[in-house]
């Protein structure tokens, strides 16, 4: 996926989000740290050109403390920043790659500690099909791909890596 394709996909996902969440009044967008946040920043950037920026509730969630693999190694910590309650809100979790589903499982647990959402949806840029280890599926998908378990999907972002690209390694 090159820069142009990535841009178009992000635009499409933004419109799909708006289809289901017309005015965003009761909607909360949450990017998952560390790499989902670059993707959610783009989505939110697009949304701001479509709706009143004041109506967008956008937070960032670090799931390190909720991981199920603390015993096999520690991970880098990132900032969690959710300056509002998610009680009775419609939450859209945003991450770059959906693979085993374990990150999203942890994110759901973490999210519930901030209140009881009315609904939780999942938006991902890349869905690695047929490799789930938990029963978790995305509601908004940029691109679905089939890949071997030994392969890696890497999403590069301009602000972090100097280019916009999705690569299968």
């Amino acid at each position: 996926m090159n820069e142009q394709q990535l841009g178009i996909t992000i635009q499409r996902l933004t419109h799909q989000l708006l289809e289901n969440h017309l005015d965003l009044q009761n909607t909360v967008l949450i990017g998952i740290q560390p790499r989902g946040v670059h993707f959610s920043d783009r989505i939110v950037g697009q949304l701001k050109t479509q709706v009143d920026p004041a109506s967008i509730h956008y937070g960032k969630l670090d799931i390190t403390f909720y991981r199920d693999d603390v015993r096999t190694g520690l991970h880098e910590l990132n900032q969690t920043d959710i300056p509002f309650s998610v009680e009775n809100k419609e939450v859209v979790l945003i991450d770059d790659v959906l693979w085993t589903g374990r990150t999203i499982r942890a994110a759901l647990d973490a999210l519930l500690d901030f209140g009881r959402p009315a609904k939780v949806e999942l938006c991902v840029l890349i869905d690695r099909r047929f490799s789930r280890q938990l029963p978790i599926q995305a509601d908004y998908i940029g691109k679905s791909i089939d890949s071997f378990i030994t392969q890696k999907v890497k999403v590069y972002w301009k602000e972090k890596d100097g280019k916009d690209e999705v690569a299968l390694l």
């Binding site: 403390f65 909720y66 520690l74 880098e76 990132n78 309650s85 500690d113």
Partner: protein, 309 residues
């Protein structure tokens, strides 16, 4: 991303990178403590025993709260009311507790080096919560965290440690930590309460005049006079100590600048610190206590991740 050590026995054994990692991790835990649900499931399969052979209010509650916020299982042990009173040795007590499958030991003991002794003989990770007159590493870490939060960084900051240096494990841990992180340290107090070779041993300044120390510093960490550890009188009376080395409002107001006041607690009000200083906006004392939980969560989290790898 992990500590270079398996135990936290003292700041002496830590690298500057370890200290940085603990403080950065604590920042994230402090955010957890502001949430509606102040608890994360991170250590839910870890069992921790709090072994307190010496009295404690803050440290014990703080550790216990930190463990509970991390969802660890905890057992509390105090020397009074246990078989230690019947003459059971420290090693026997701990081995008996560990045979019930305990992963970590948080320990306070009146004998300096007790946790180091245990670390040589048992497999569990040990956190020193104060050993005699040696070290109290988590106190120094939370002091550093509080200074960093208030002043931005430790590098180049001027910290005065004032009072009973001789008997203070808080002082020793603080000196190790501040020097490792590039802060400047002055030790102040009466000559009888300052070890003779401290200047040479730690590359710190020594000041016998309280006013001069306060004029020099950005932060004054005032320590408690530890009468329980003084076998012989080292100053003539508390009243005299208070007159010469007590930090009071009049003295602070006459400095011409606002310095930060810290105290590890418990305070002897009216002796080393006056109430109108301890309870003022200049004082970080209650912030120190608040930060203590986040810092201890960071230490337990990092050691638990380390010990199981």
């Amino acid at each position: 991303m992990q500590l270079s050590t398996k135990h936290l026995l003292g700041i002496r054994d830590l690298q500057p990178g370890d200290i940085q990692l603990i403080l950065d991790t604590a920042t994230q835990f402090k955010e957890v403590l502001q949430r509606p649900i102040k608890k994360v499931p991170t250590l839910r399969d870890v069992t921790i025993v709090n072994l307190f052979y010496e009295n404690s209010t803050r440290t014990r509650i703080s550790f216990e709260l930190a463990e509970k916020r991390l969802s660890a299982d905890t057992i509390n042990f105090t020397a009074s009311g246990s078989s230690a009173a019947k003459g059971e040795t420290l090693l026997d007590t701990v081995n008996n507790i560990l045979s019930m499958k305990v992963d970590m030991v948080v320990m306070r003991h009146s004998a300096s080096g007790a946790p180091h002794f245990l670390a040589k003989h048992i497999p569990a990770a040990i956190v020193n919560a104060g050993d005699g007159i040696n070290e109290h590493p988590t106190q120094a870490l939370l002091d550093a965290f509080s200074i960093r939060e208030k002043l931005g960084e430790l590098q180049g900051k001027k910290i005065a440690i004032i009072g009973d240096i001789m008997h203070s494990r808080v002082a020793l841990s603080n000196i190790y930590l501040l020097k490792k992180m590039g802060a400047e340290v002055t030790i102040a107090g009466p000559p009888t309460l300052i070890p003779v070779y401290i200047r040479e041993a730690f590359d710190v300044r020594v000041e016998y005049n309280l006013r001069k120390a306060l004029e020099w510093c950005d932060v004054a960490n005032v320590l408690r006079i530890q009468l329980e550890r003084q076998n012989q009188p080292l100053f003539s009376s508390l009243r005299e100590y208070s007159l010469a080395y007590g930090v009071n409002r009049r003295l602070l107001d006459s400095l011409g600048k606002e310095i930060v006041i810290m105290h590890p607690g418990p305070i002897n009000r009216g002796v080393e610190l006056d109430s109108d200083v301890a309870d003022s906006g200049q004082s970080l004392i209650l912030h120190q206590v608040e930060n203590g939980v986040a810092v201890r969560m960071a230490v337990l989290y990092l050691l638990a991740g380390r010990s199981t790898n």
